[in-house]
């Protein structure tokens, strides 16, 4: 049967199992919106296209499904760039559809024209300009397949107006066929055996797990593997929740704001088993002195991640879940019975590091410490909620003090470090799970980057709880100025800020404020009891810092502890 491009678009989304679409209409996508008017796909109208992409990203991270956003041409499309770059750096499966001027006007500097395929080429896994309506169904199939398979990532599909209104016979392909794209899921058995031999021989092993563990749903396998072989585990920011935070084998996060014991353990290890991590500079510190004595095993689905920053001794290209499963199948037998004994000394050393320095803060009587707010949020929810963060100090305190037990509960812009990510991502997560508690831990700077989404949360009854750790500063930048720029606080003080309580009320949300420590818990309780979105404004110690801290470019052992 003949269909229009707009009808093919909506029908193909249904075929891909899309229930929720985050979008913002405009001139060239009007025909699509006209079809959506009668569709059972839920469309959430955001207040800025950047938020549509972050919301799709949050939706994808919590569900493991592909998040979808729809925007118009020109500025609608360019506003998605930050969202795409965020998802690209963190390997999040999303598909963004942008409208485009009709094909005969492309290149003519037409009204609301932007070369979005050109602009987004370096920040998408792949992108398409659909030039013929007959290619549309195939390209949508490929876009979803590319987004979710292999190392996941964002895909953009640009839809010119004449493709949207054009008509063709509609057949949705069963499978995507891409002759240049064949991700490797199975790890090489020989390499896996070599890795196990190295693990068996090691007396000071550390598992370093990243976001790949979450993406491949490998948390259970990782946990079982580490527990069976008594391997200490540290995770990256992106890997948080991939291993239970309360497990005695957990060292906490490593890197610039990692725990003392995680950084010491990695620096003294004789074997590092990296799983779905990419040796980012915020993790390694000075690269030449990272894990200097360790042999390195690296499991990653993306061959380009292997030996990019550090030379890897035993590379295993494959899906984390798959590889860990294979490893688990091979660690039976008497030679694996002695793990406790073999690693006793190492665990003793780690325990000594744990005692030597624990993360702590002194919560006094008068001034609220931001870490205290995070801990109270954890306590009040029992840790059983979805947490998103903005970027900066709020993000690091959340990472350090909100102990996560499960995967897919943690939304943070790790790679790109996008301020303004957390709130729309939380909205996306709440749209996926209306009954779960979703908290955005924010700063007073970051929250203002997408504050307009309060209207979206109110309109769609998405009861996200935003906790602003309000210190009146762009706190992380201020901290660097304090430490490395002689306390010259150049343009980091936000002298004028809105009254967040009134602002929440102006949007029809609930606004709450705490200025003293004893008010923190009641505000949280009140927010959690409220059925709608809440903005909590916590006035915290303005010059509190994030510690430990490894200065940029220093080795991990050179931590500022405080």
């Amino acid at each position: 049967m003949e269909r229009t491009g707009a009808e093919i678009f909506v029908e193909s989304l249904r075929k891909e199992g899309v229930h929720t679409l985050f979008g913002y209409p405009g001139g060239v996508v009007l025909n699509i919106y006209d079809v959506l008017y009668d569709s059972d796909i839920r469309h959430i109208l955001v207040r800025h296209e950047q938020a549509a992409v972050h919301a799709a990203d949050g939706y994808a991270r919590v569900t493991g499904e592909v998040g979808v956003a729809l925007v118009t041409s020109g500025p609608g499309a360019t506003n998605t760039v930050t969202g795409l770059a965020t998802a690209y750096m963190d390997s999040v499966p999303i598909v963004v559809f942008s409208g485009q001027v009709p094909t005969h006007l492309i290149g003519n500097d037409a009204f609301q024209e932007a070369d979005i395929v050109g602009i987004t080429r370096p920040c998408t896994k792949h992108n398409y300009l659909v030039k013929d309506v007959r290619d549309l169904a195939r390209i949508i199939k490929e876009a979803f397949y590319l987004a979710r398979s292999g190392r996941p990532g964002p895909v953009l599909v640009d839809l010119p107006k004449d493709v949207i209104v054009g008509r063709t016979e509609y057949v949705y392909p069963e499978t995507a066929k891409l002759r240049g794209y064949n991700p490797t899921y199975e790890g090489h058995l020989g390499q896996i055996k070599k890795a196990l031999k190295a693990i068996h021989e090691s007396r000071r092993p550390v598992v370093y797990a990243g976001g790949g563990v979450i993406l491949s749903n490998a948390s259970r396998e990782l946990t079982e593997f580490a527990r069976r072989l008594r391997l200490p585990v540290t995770t990256t920011l992106m890997g948080l929740g991939g291993f239970p935070g309360s497990d005695p084998l957990f060292l906490g996060m490593l890197g610039m704001h990692g725990t003392y014991r995680a950084n010491m353990a990695v620096s003294h290890a004789d074997l590092l088993v990296a799983v779905g991590a990419r040796f980012d500079d915020r993790v390694t510190g000075k690269i030449d002195e990272f894990a200097p004595n360790a042999k390195i095993v690296h499991v990653d689905i993306d061959p380009t991640s292997i030996s990019k920053n550090v030379q890897v001794d035993i590379p295993i290209v494959g899906d984390a879940k798959n590889v860990l499963k294979k490893m688990l199948g091979l660690v039976h037998g008497p030679e694996w019975e002695d793990r406790d004994e073999a690693l006793r000394e190492w665990h003793g050393e780690i325990e000594a590091w744990r005692r030597a320095h624990r993360m702590d803060y002194g919560q006094g009587k008068d001034v609220i410490k931001p870490q205290y707010v995070v801990e109270q949020l954890h306590e009040a929810t029992g840790g059983r909620c979805i947490v998103s963060t903005e970027v900066g100090q709020n993000q690091m305190w959340a990472a350090q003090y909100f102990r996560l037990e499960e995967p897919r509960c943690w939304l943070t812009s790790g790679g790109l470090g996008t301020m303004g990510y957390g709130f729309p991502a939380a909205i996306g997560a709440q749209a996926a799970f209306p009954d779960r508690v979703v908290i955005d831990i924010a700063g007073d700077g970051s929250i203002q980057m997408n504050i307009q989404e309060l209207a979206t949360a109110v309109q769609y009854e998405l009861p996200v709880k935003v906790a602003i750790l309000n210190n009146g500063f762009l706190g992380m930048v201020r901290q660097w100025q304090e430490l490395f720029y002689d306390r010259r606080y150049s343009h980091t003080r936000m002298d004028v800020a809105p009254d967040f309580v009134k602002l929440a009320e102006a949007y029809g949300a609930l606004g709450l404020r705490a200025t003293r420590p004893e008010e923190v818990r009641p505000v949280i309780e009140q927010a959690l009891a409220h059925s709608g979105p809440v903005l909590m404004d916590f006035h915290v110690d303005p010059e509190e810092g994030v510690y430990p801290m490894v200065p940029a470019g220093a080795p991990l052992t050179k931590m500022l502890l405080l």
Binding site: R121, P122, H126, L129, R179, G180, P303, T304, Q311
Partner: protein, 162 residues
């Protein structure tokens, strides 16, 4: 170290931009690049000459393979492939230089393809060393203009080099 890499790609718009963008975005160098359709009109072959240490070359190969439109990447090893480049050179032609230009073209099996009162334009095809040599010898005669195609390469014999 210099490497010659053959890249088979989908013959689609935007593919060259993806490959070029990969090099520029990651700070890799392109010394030369040539592209044309293969026997299969849906596939094009790029010959890229690049340089870098082993780790950089490994990254370049992996990053190229990661592109969805890239079908096959072959790092051609020294001595195991043929390469040719075509160069057009416009040389000052005076009473003294004309015989020398003709002699050089005879030696290098080049051709005079255009003649004007003051210049000869010559065409030379060959491997890297030959092109370098002919340019060095023509330079003292007064080169006005040079146009090079960049290298194309093919594995020798029965190897399937793509």
């Amino acid at each position: 170290m210099r490497h010659t890499i053959n890249v088979l790609v989908e013959n689609e718009f935007g593919v060259l931009a993806r490959v070029a963008g990969l090099f520029s975005g990651r700070g890799f160098n392109i010394d030369s690049l040539s592209v044309a359709e293969t026997q299969d009109p849906t596939v094009s072959l790029m010959t890229i000459v690049t340089r870098g240490d082993d780790q950089i070359i490994e990254q370049i190969l992996k990053q190229l393979r990661k592109l969805v439109n890239v079908l096959k990447v072959t790092d051609l090893h020294e001595g195991q492939y043929l390469d040719r480049e075509l160069v057009l050179v416009k040389v000052a032609a005076t009473a003294e230089t004309k015989p020398e230009i003709l002699r050089l073209m005879d030696i290098f099996r080049g051709k005079i393809v255009d003649v004007s009162p003051k210049t000869y334009t010559v065409e030379v095809t060959g491997g890297e060393d030959k092109i370098r040599a002919v340019l060095e010898l023509l330079r003292p005669l007064g080169i006005k203009e040079v146009v090079r195609t960049g290298k194309v390469a093919m594995p020798r014999g029965m190897q399937n080099g793509g």
